[in-house]
């Protein structure tokens, strides 16, 4: 790992950034729960955006339960929270939220000297776990938003 870019600094930035994205785009609170265990979502919606450059590669995953993903989509689209949103619209909102998170990280990394490009978002639905490659650092940030949980999973390899 680079001497100038450290995983705790990335986690600190991503914590502030997730709170900002939720506050600005969704008018929803989100607070880091450092000692929270990882929740088991039976059905989840996960946004993922990759990033790659000469000295850094990785991906950011945003995990939401299917029910909370619907509420997040309603909030961003300006619809009542109980409204059922179509799957494509939920996917687009979760993808865009993940894009905002990863775009912020990309900018942070670029300003720290690790220039990189980001991919367009992808969505994964279901109950699953993502495995990291052996030489890739992985960190989970668990947030509470009301009674719901939000997980940001960061995979990063610094050369």
């Amino acid at each position: 790992m680079s001497q100038t870019i450290q995983l705790p600094d990335i986690c600190e930035f991503m914590t502030r950034h997730l709170v900002d994205v939720f506050d600005t785009m969704l008018a929803m609170p989100a607070a880091l729960t450092p000692k929270a265990g990882l929740p088991h979502f039976e059905e989840r919606v996960t946004g993922s955006v990759g990033f790659a450059g000469d000295s850094v590669t990785g991906a950011v995953y945003l995990h939401l339960s299917a029910t909370f993903a619907n509420r997040v989509a309603a909030a961003m689209l300006g619809l009542p929270p109980e409204e059922t949103i179509g799957e494509n619209d939920v996917n687009d909102v979760v993808g865009e939220a993940t894009n905002m998170l990863t775009g912020g990280l990309k900018s942070w990394l670029c300003d720290a000297g690790a220039g990189c490009a980001v991919s367009t978002p992808a969505i994964i639905r279901g109950a699953f776990s993502v495995e990291a490659m052996p030489d890739v650092a992985r960190e989970f940030l668990v947030f509470e938003s009301g009674t719901e949980r939000v997980i940001v999973e960061i995979h990063i390899k610094l050369n």
């Binding site: 785009m25 687009d92 894009n99 775009g103 980001v118 367009t120």
Partner: protein
């Protein structure tokens, strides 16, 4: 005459938010899902303002901006970049291409109105 605004973003959500933002104003919103479609829409619609994302499939926003500025018929259309990327080098590179303003996601709708209002006339629709 309504102010014509072209929103170019691969996210339907963002295009919808842009449309919602300008709804109280006398604006006509047109949309495109990538840079290639955005260039075609700009040539067809001759918008007063383009709100442009960076990372998009098919043709990204930086490439579209470069092509726009090379086209004598389109180069004077002002562009606001609306992107999740705010890195110093990125912003400088885009600024050199002639962008009028830059708004970083996440953003408040009022911020977009404020920036657009500095470039084009935004007239509130009369309330019925």
């Amino acid at each position: 005459m309504a102010t014509k605004i072209l929103s170019v973003d691969d996210s339907r959500t963002i295009r919808m938010i842009v449309g919602r933002t300008f709804k109280p104003y006398d604006c006509q919103i047109c949309e495109a899902g990538n840079g290639e479609e955005g260039l075609a829409a700009a040539a067809r619609e001759k918008p007063d303002l383009i709100i442009l994302d960076v990372t998009m499939p098919v043709m990204d926003g930086v490439t579209m901006l470069g092509k726009l500025k090379e086209d004598p018929a389109l180069k004077t259309i002002p562009v606001i970049m609306l992107t999740a990327e705010s890195g110093r080098d990125n912003v400088l590179q885009i600024a050199k291409l002639g962008v009028r303003d830059y708004l970083v996601k996440p953003f408040k709708e009022e911020q977009l109105i404020e920036k657009a209002g500095r470039i084009v006339t935004l007239q509130k629709k009369p309330t019925v």
